[in-house]
Each structure stands twice: as C-alpha cells, then as structure tokens.
C-alpha cells in the first residue's frame, strides 16, 4: 500500500504546485486576520492614557499591561492572535482538503481510482498526507510573516519548541482532514459541501481559545470549548512559541492526541465505508 499512498500523495502535491495562483489565495485569509484584525485590535494602544497627569498615566499603563498579561499571557494581542491563527489556518486548510475531494468525485477521478486495486485506506491516507504537507509548508510561510509583522516569541525559543508547536498543528490537521474527507466521501454536491464547511468552520473557531481566552467567554461556551481540539492545540502552540502558561501541559497533549486520533479513526472508517458503499 505504501507505493499507492506515495504515488497519490505526489500527485496531490504536483497538482498543488502547478496551481500557483491558489498559493497566494490560500494565504489571503490568514493575512487579513493577522494584518487587519490583529494589528488593528491593539488593546495597549486603545487604553493608552491621554490628557492625564503623568503620575496617573504611568499607573494606568501599568494596570492595562497587567490586565493584558493576565488575560492573554502577553501584552501584545497580535502575538496572542498570530499564534492562535497558526492553528486556525491548519484547521481551515484541512477543511479545504475535503472540498477538493468533492470536485474529484464530480470529475470522475475518484471513480477511476476505485476501479484500480488500490486499497481504499490508501486513497484516504493519500488525501491526509497531501493536505498535511501543504499545511506544513503554508505554516512555515505564515510564521515568517507573523515574525515580520511583530510577533513576540518567548525568550529562549528553540527548535524543540517550534517542533512541538508543529506537531500540535499536525495533530489538529490530521483530525480535521479525516473528518472533512469523510464528509466529502458522502457528499456529491459542492454547494452542500461548502454549506457544511461554513456551518462548522466559524463556530469551531470561535468556540476555542484561538482568538480569545476561554475565561473571557460565557460559562456555557467555555464548556463547549473544552471539547474542541482547537483549544488544546492553540494552548500548546502558545505555550511553546510565546510562553503563555497552561494549567496542565501534559493533559493538554493527552486530550489533543486522543481527540485527533479518534477523529482520524472515525474519519477513515466512514470514508472507507463510503467508498465501498455504492
């Protein structure tokens, strides 16, 4: 099966590389979030004291910074958002891995694959690997852009930190590529697929700590966010890249691995079942 998975993954990557336009388009959404939203929502600047006597001004600044540090783990909201966006971008790209599959079904390519002796699990795995490689490439670019825009990495950041953050993003991607591939294998209509994507995308992003800390959310939303793997991936990435503390680091890893593995297994079984059930 290794040769089949390798062959189909290389095919995915060759197609991706030949569509140069999509490379730019794929980066536009996270760039908007970082460049427009992240840089505009400068809380330190918003609450900067003006027309206040100097003895109070310094005190207020100290108070604002203290509050920001307490809330976001950093005085720069951009730094908080950029590290969360790395996870959200991995999630978004996973989703679009699934939508590509619906197009391939419509064009008849999937049927052609199903007429070959290629194992159905191999077809599924090639989708997962192809999407993962794309995500890792984009994440590297996005991290460089965030660095250029002023993300404040934690003092003493090392390769291990970057690697662990990368693994967390890979785990979240594996989970969601599997889920959306499973949906795509069961959906023939592109419009329906996009409707499902929109239905799931934004709620999952907002019901996580990717954009805002959980303690800022209403209690019911906090409960939902605790079951969202994006929350744990975002926490782990922040811990490793910008030094935001986590209450239980190892537990976060355990929950992220368990959720991603569960989504992967369910996604693969549902996908194989859909390929066999015609």
């Amino acid at each position: 099966m290794i040769q089949e998975v390798y062959t189909l993954t290389v095919r995915e990557l060759k197609k991706w590389l030949s569509r140069r336009g999509t490379f730019i388009v794929s980066l536009i959404t996270p760039l908007f979030w970082l460049g427009l939203f992240g840089k505009s929502l400068n809380f330190a600047q918003m609450f900067a004291p003006t027309n206040i006597p100097p003895q109070y001004s310094s005190l207020i600044s100290q108070y604002v910074n203290h509050q920001l540090l307490n809330l976001f783990g950093t005085t720069s909201y951009f730094t908080y958002l950029a590290s969360g966006m790395l996870v959200v971008f991995g999630f978004f790209q996973s989703v679009f891995g699934g939508t590509n599959l619906v197009f391939e079904k419509r064009l008849g390519y999937l049927n052609r694959l199903l007429m070959t002796p290629t194992p159905r699990s191999g077809i599924f795995l090639s989708k997962v690997f192809g999407t993962l490689i794309r995500i890792l490439f984009y994440e590297t670019i996005l991290m460089l852009i965030a660095w250029g825009l002023g993300i404040k990495f934690k003092p003493g950041l090392n390769v291990i930190n970057v690697l662990l953050a990368g693994i967390a993003i890979v785990l979240i991607a594996i989970g969601f590529v599997s889920v959306f591939a499973a949906i795509a294998f069961n959906v023939d209509n592109v419009e329906i697929m996009f409707a499902i994507v929109n239905l799931i995308n934004l709620p999952l992003m907002f019901a996580s700590s990717a954009l805002f800390p959980l303690k800022q959310m209403p209690s019911w939303l906090q409960e939902i966010a605790k079951f969202n793997p994006i929350t744990y991936a975002a926490d782990i990435v922040r811990y490793n890249l910008i030094g935001t503390p986590i209450s239980n680091y190892l537990l976060s890893w355990a929950i992220l691995i368990a959720l991603s593995l569960a989504l992967f297994i369910i996604g693969m079984l549902v996908s194989i079942n859909a390929m066999e059930r015609t």
């Binding site: 040769q3 062959t7 095919r11 060759k14 197609k15 694959l113 070959t116």
Partner: protein, 329 residues
C-alpha cells in the same frame, strides 16, 4: 469458447427506479461486444457494476471467473476501464497521468515507466506525452483515457462511450486502436449510442433500453430482424402528412406511418416501389427523401419505436443520416 464476462440477472435499483433490470449476457474471450442504447438506458450503470464500483442490487457477473461481488480485488486487477468522464488531471502531463495508473497497478521504477511509454505509444500519444493534458485536443484526451486504462495490459477492457463528442476523424482513429486491442487478445466491452460505432467495431451487439437487453446478436443477425428497406420522406407542408400517408397506404397497405414529422415507409424493395412513390408525391413539395438500408438504428427504432438519440433534444433523422454516412464511409 471460454467466456470472459458472464452477467447473470444483473440488476441495479435506486429506490424504486430500476436502472438495470435482470440482464444476462456472455462475452467470449477476445470479442468486441457493444452495449448499444440511448442515454439513460443503463449502459454506464452496467459498466459501473462490472468494474466493481457499483454494487448490484441483485444478480452477479463473472470476469474471467471472478465474481464482481465476492472477488472485487481480483476483478480490479484484470480489468481496465475508460470511463465516459474525462478524468485525467489537466495540470499533469499525459505521461504523468499514465505513470500514476501504472504504479497503482503495482508496477515500480523502470517497469512502470516502460508500461507508461508502451501505453502512450499504443494510443499514438508518445509525441505529446510530456505536454500538459490541458493542451490536448478532445480526441487526444479520449485516447489518453484509454492509455490510462490499458497500461497494465488488462485481459478485459471496458470502454464507456469512448468516442462521444469527437469528430469523425478522431472517432475512426480510436476505432482503429480498439481493433488493435482485439488483435492483442483483449476482450472489449464497449458502450455507445452511435449505431455506426457498434456496427463498425463489434463482433456482437446487445441493444439495451430502459435497463433491459431487448436484442442480442451479431450486427448482421440484428439487421436481419428488419425485412426490406425504409424510406423517409420530409414534405414541406406538415398539414398534408396524413393525406400523403393515406395515399401511400392505398397503394401499399400498412406501409406508411408518421414519425417525427416525417413519413416512414417500410417496403420489401425500395427500387420496385420508388417509381410508384414518385407518382404519389408528384403533387406535393418534397424537401427530402431518403432510402435507408437496414442498420442498427433502424433495428432500435423497430424494437422500441424511438430513435437512439431522441433523448438528446430532438432527432433530425436526415441530418443524422448525413453525419453517419460521413462517419462510416
């Protein structure tokens, strides 16, 4: 002779709709066998079941002895399928597309490359092998689909409407290549709604309509079902069709009928009847008159009362005959 394909009560239902209805046929090894029928007749669904991507609701079929229900993996190894859809990746070259298929059928390294080269050469595409598929013409894309299907040298190949939408020259090119496949000993199951394609290529033809096989035999055997010739008459004034039909039937009882705003006359011998027919028509403005010798289109019409391509939004028999004469010349 050994059977390559045996279909036994093969049936596919989607809810209450029966797409393929208990069909039975046997295809011998090395034979070119056509499923001829209009769009929606069940041809592609039959191929889908035989190629293991659609599960039969009832019945079974055997490809070289392997059941399409119980031995799917074995069946997939020995068949090649050229689907009706153009599936090759536009962004890749023809060579890359064929090479992927070779690797999916288990060939590695140089062997896979040799197979891809052989398949592209066989389909007369080697000169364009390294061009992106988006630069291919329609005929080249169809040939590429077949190249992707034969790269592993399958014993049985399914060609689903292999020439649909192609010009006469490209169609004839593919016909020649299909005949070459037969010479190599490959069994070919072809679906088509072009009667001239079925007639030109097939050892035997099964006519399929509404999911059922309504006739099966060699083209000669099927044409023998029609006795005599067919004369189609197109008169300028449609209001006079009935009048003309009555006059013809007065001379030759029950020979004339109305079909698609034309008059169809069935006669044992057109040459004997034509002088009298010309006399009858002398009082009318005749736009076109055609004498048709028995062909598979006429067989289909005789068996179903419909033309093979009526579902495509109207059927101009005169235009059709002009086109097909060009294709078979």
């Amino acid at each position: 002779m050994d059977p390559a394909i045996q279909a036994e009560n093969l049936t596919k239902k989607y809810g209450n709709f029966v797409a393929v209805d208990h069909i039975n046929f046997t295809i011998n090894k090395g034979e070119i066998f056509s499923l001829l029928g209009p769009n929606g007749a069940g041809k592609t669904t039959t191929i889908g079941m035989l190629s293991t991507v659609k599960r039969p609701t009832e019945g079974d079929a055997y490809i070289l002895g392997y059941s399409i229900v119980k031995h799917k993996y074995h069946v997939r190894k020995i068949i090649g399928v050229s689907p009706q859809d153009l599936t090759a990746d536009d962004e890749l070259s023809g060579y890359e597309n064929v090479l992927i298929m070779a690797k999916l059928f288990g060939y590695r390294g140089n062997e896979a490359e040799d197979r891809a080269k052989w398949a592209l050469n066989f389909m007369d595409l080697w000169d364009s092998a390294f061009k992106k598929v988006r630069e291919y013409s329609g005929g080249m894309r169809r040939r590429l689909e077949i190249a992707m299907s034969i790269v592993h040298n399958p014993s049985v190949i399914f060609l689903d409407e292999p020439t649909v939408g192609l010009d006469v020259q490209s169609r004839r090119h593919i016909w020649d290549l299909v005949r070459e496949l037969k010479k190599n000993g490959t069994t070919v199951l072809l679906t088509t709604h072009y009667m001239e394609e079925a007639e030109a290529l097939s050892d035997r033809v099964a006519i399929i309509d509404h999911g059922k096989i309504i006739a099966i035999g060699t083209p000669s055997e099927l044409k023998a079902k029609i006795k005599g010739d067919r004369i189609y008459i197109l008169v300028k004034d449609n209001n006079k069709l009935d009048e003309v039909i009555n006059k013809i039937n007065d001379f030759l009882p029950n020979s004339a009928s109305k079909i698609d705003n034309q008059i169809l006359v069935k006669t044992e011998s057109s040459s004997e009847f034509l002088p009298q027919l010309i006399k009858i028509l002398s009082g009318y403005e005749v736009v076109e008159l055609k004498v048709v010798k028995p062909n598979l289109e006429e067989v289909f019409l005789e068996l179903t009362g419909r033309g093979l391509r009526e579902e495509e939004g109207g059927f101009d028999r005169f235009k059709y005959m002009r086109v097909t004469r060009g294709a078979t010349r």
